[in-house]
Structures are given as C-alpha cells and as structure tokens.
C-alpha cells in the first residue's frame, strides 16, 4: 500500500503568478498534483505515480504522441527546482509545456468537444496495446493550442491490468459522449449542462430525454439506456467485486479495444449543423460596408502593431474571427470569444482546417461570463481570473451589452479596462456604435423610448477618457460608428 503524498496548501487563483501554488483544480487524484511556479507549470508525483511515469517515459507510443503534439510537452526536472514551500513531498517532479489559455468544455463548441473526445479515444487506443490505460476519461483531460487539442493529464496514465474494463468509461460518457449526443441528436446546446455540473450529465438524466423512437438514434440504446439500466441494477455492488468477477468471466484487453473502436466510430459519426434559418437571421445582424470594413481592419492592425507584441489578445464578440486572425499576426495568442455556439463552431472548423494554433475560439455570453466552479468555486477558474490580456478588442459589442442587456455604460467600460493585465501597458480597441446606427436603432426599438439617455458618443468618450488615455479615435466612413484606441491610466 502506498500512502498518498500529504496535502498541499492551495491559494486562490487570484494570487499573482509569482506566488508558488498548487493548482486548485488538480486535487482529485491524490497521486499527483499540478503546481504553478513563476509562470511555469510543474507536476509533483507521489511514489506510485513516479513509478508509472518511469514506465510511461520509456514507452514508444508515449514518445510518438508527444512528438505529434497530441500530448502536452513534459520533461523530468530536478525536484529542487520547486521552491521550498512546495518541494520535499514529491518523489519526482515534471515540467509541462504551458497552455497559453486554459479553457473548459463548457466554453467549447460542438466540433471542439467532438475533436477532444476523438483525441482522448485515440490516445487510449494507442496506449492499451502498449500495456497502459488512463485512470479516467474526463473532458478536463484536454486543453487547446489554438484549434489543436492536446491531452494534458500525464498523471492519468498507468500500467493496465489484464482483464479489467476502462475505469474512465463512465466519466467519458458523462463529460464527452452525452453532451455530444444531446447536441447531435436533439439539437440542444450542451454548454449550460456542463457548466452547471462539473461531473457532466448522468445516464439517468439523458435517458429521460431519449424516450420513444429517439432511443434508436446512434449510440443511445447502448451507451445511455443499457448503461443506465445496468448502473441501477448494480448500484449496490462494489467496483472491486465486479472487477474480479469480470476478470474471472474472461474480460480481456481485446474487449477494451473493441469498446474504444466502437466509441471512436460513434463519436466520429456524430455531427451537428444549426438549422439554415439560423444563418439567414444572423447575416442581417452583421452588415458592414466594404469601406467601413477596410478602415476598421487598418485601425485594428495599427493599434496592435505598436509599441510591442502582445502576449494575449482577447477578441470579445469575435463573430467570424476576422479580427482574431488579424490580431494573431501581432500577438502570441488570441482568444476569440463569441456567444453564438453555431458561429464559434464554424470558426473552429475553419481554424482547424487551417492548422491555426494561435487562435482559440470560445463560446461565452459576455453578459454572463464563465463563473468559478467545482469545489469552493475555484476548481475551475472564472473567466475573469483567467483573462489577463495585453490587448482587448471590443468591436461592435458595447451596444449589445449597454442596450441589449441594460448594462450601465460606465460598467461596460470598467469591465473592458479590467480585463487588461495590471502594468502590462495594455491596449483597448473599442468600437462605439452610435444610437442612430441601424444596428443600435434596432436594439433600441426593442426597449422603451428614453431608457438609455446616456447612450451617446460624447458620454462614452467621457467615460473612456476617465479610465484610459485615448491614443487615437476614428469615425468610420458610414458616420455611425467610432473606433478608439485607449491605454489604461496608471
């Protein structure tokens, strides 16, 4: 019996990066722990995990997956690398490649979740013949480099034991397969389900949505109905007993592979396209003259080109990603945030086809950004704690918040400026849509007249000027929109 390593004190994610801390989201498997020290990411391994790592590091399949970028970069380092507050309790210490922006499955689009699921299955299918398995099957095992998924949970690998099924199957269903079935078969957005439940969707819940002939949709009968029925029947049986019984009955590695092949085939076939009406309605909301577009692109490019390259740019209300792609030319990484899951899905598919590794598309409503979640509300970081940008693009977004969602204009400006990392010399590029612009007028028409007396250009400029030095301003040729480049005042 190997005693788990002693617990590590955690600090809230709002601490500056320079303070060494254990990641508040990595406590579930006590055999190892992710640690953050000065912007670098380490993983401390207990005795058993260290032995598993030694076996894994020598395995050919692992090297190949790592070389292909499918598993995040990982190397063994001297345990003394860790500061005294974190050192001394780990048999082995690993250093990981840093993921440019940590995101969560409830911020991904359908195709993103599907590609993440396929990568998880591919990794396991490669590991099993080499005698390894993964302890779990969570969507949280995956992260992104732009539009490329990558498996990050190195601590999840362990030598497989003959005659045992995959321990992560249930978690795979709950956090990956079921959300995909929900969207592919019923057209329901899965993001709110995953956001509200850290362990994903239960088989019993999903089963209720797949009654009648719906039960015959691909994958539903086996992975939802049968799974739930057997779960209920064996609720009282311990997993230890069941494991032993399955082994006696002749469960084999081949059966694990058969399950994985079946899942890969199923997930690969699942697809989702929004109804055609979605796009016809959508196009009406993004009308720009060619002249406006050209001027706007030049303004954004010039704003980001100086004085130095940005590390992280947030493109809020990214739409089709035009400006995110533009920004990627001047930044290490761009996070493109858009509330419409269909728009994000289409953007992701294009970015993925282009092999774009510097733009990460995310689904998020700006008036309802991701809160902290899980244990003590910090196991998953809120968007605000993760978003420390060097530059923020807020193009054609202020009117949606101020008029569409009634957010007071001063708060909109405060929020935008607050997303910039402290003392980064950050830049805010913001577009103000005048009340007489057709898009703003359409939003205003849905609200009682006179509800937003302060929504005008002079007031916006005054508020922005209080918080930022306005470096440049430019009215677009249409005459109903103005662009600003601001740098926050000390």
């Amino acid at each position: 019996m190997v005693a788990p390593p002693p617990p590590v004190p955690t600090t809230p994610t709002t601490e500056p990066e320079s303070v060494p801390r254990a990641d508040p989201g990595s406590f579930r498997d006590p055999a190892n722990r992710v640690l953050h020290v000065g912007g670098q990411v380490f993983r401390g391994l207990g005795q058993q995990a260290a032995e598993d790592w030694r076996a894994l590091a020598g395995a050919e399949f692992f090297d190949r997956l790592r070389a292909d970028g499918k598993i995040c970069g990982t190397e063994t380092v001297d345990p003394e690398t860790l500061p005294a507050s974190l050192a001394g309790q780990w048999a082995t210490v690993l250093r990981h490649e840093r993921i440019p922006f940590v995101s969560y499955p409830y911020e991904w689009s359908f195709a993103m979740l599907r590609d993440a699921a396929l990568l998880h299955l591919e990794i396991l299918r490669t590991a099993v013949p080499a005698g390894f398995t993964t302890k779990d099957g969570s969507a949280y095992n995956l992260q992104w480099r732009g539009a490329e998924p990558c498996f990050i949970d190195i601590g999840s690998f362990e030598p497989a034991r003959d005659g045992e099924p995959w321990a992560g199957y249930r978690q795979f269903c709950q956090t990956l397969l079921y959300p995909l079935l929900l969207q592919a078969h019923l057209g329901l957005d899965f993001q709110p389900w995953l956001r509200s439940r850290i362990d994903g969707i239960e088989a019993g819940e999903l089963r209720k949505l797949f009654g009648g002939t719906r039960r015959f949709r691909a994958g539903v009968l086996k992975h939802v109905h049968l799974h739930d029925a057997i779960q209920s029947r064996y609720a009282a049986a311990s997993t230890g007993t069941v494991r032993a019984e399955l082994k006696d009955a002749g469960f084999s590695r081949e059966l694990v592979l058969a399950t994985l092949r079946g899942l890969e085939k199923l997930v690969g076939r699942l697809d989702w396209q929004p109804p055609a009406s979605h796009w016809s309605g959508y196009r009406e909301t993004c009308t720009y003259s060619a002249a406006d577009r050209e001027v706007k692109e030049r303004f954004v490019a010039e704003a980001l080109a100086e004085p130095n390259r940005s590390r992280l740019v947030l493109d809020l209300g990214a739409n089709d990603g035009t400006y995110s792609r533009l920004a990627a030319g001047y930044a290490d990484y761009v996070v493109a945030v858009e509330s419409d899951p269909a728009v994000v899905d289409q953007l992701y598919r294009r970015l993925r086809a282009d092999g774009e590794r510097r733009v990460l598309p995310l689904v998020m409503d700006l008036a309802d950004p991701s809160p902290g979640g899980g244990w003590r509300g910090v196991e998953r970081g809120s968007f605000a704690t993760r978003a420390e940008a060097d530059a923020v693009l807020a193009l054609a977004v202020v009117h949606h918040l101020a008029i569409g969602r009634n957010v007071p204009l001063p708060e909109v400006v405060d929020w935008l400026v607050g997303l910039l990392a402290a003392d980064s010399g950050g830049r805010l590029v913001v577009e103000f849509v005048h009340p007489d612009d057709p898009m703003a007028a359409r939003l205003l028409a849905n609200k009682p007249a006179g509800l937003f007396p302060d929504y005008h250009r002079e007031e916006f400029e005054r508020l922005l000027g209080q918080r930022c030095e306005i470096v440049r301003r430019l009215e677009l040729p249409s005459g109903t929109r103005t662009l600003y480049l601001g740098t926050p005042r000390g």
């Binding site: 995990a49 302890k135 034991r161 099924p165 779960q231 997993t239 009955a249 469960f251």
Partner: protein, 49 residues
Amino acid sequence: MDHLAYLDAGSGSLIVQAVIGGVAGVAVAAKLYWRRLTSRFRRQPSKQD
C-alpha cells in the same frame, strides 16, 4: 496489486463494457451473469449449515 483508482468507475459502467464489446463481450457478460446466478444456488446450502 495496489489499485490507485481514485475514481469510482461505477460497477454498472464496468459491466456494460462487456455487453457493448461485440460478440466476445456478450460471451463474457453471459458467463458473468451465469456465475452470479449459479453462485446464488451454491451459497444456499452453506447458509443452512
């Protein structure tokens, strides 16, 4: 061998993997159910002793 299975894999979720694993899986599942059934009868006399 020591298990460091930190996750509750779920008994039903383990068994269902035999059932969904094609023909070979069904054979394993049938054997499992058969043994569970027969063990019930086997145990009875020992309880009466």
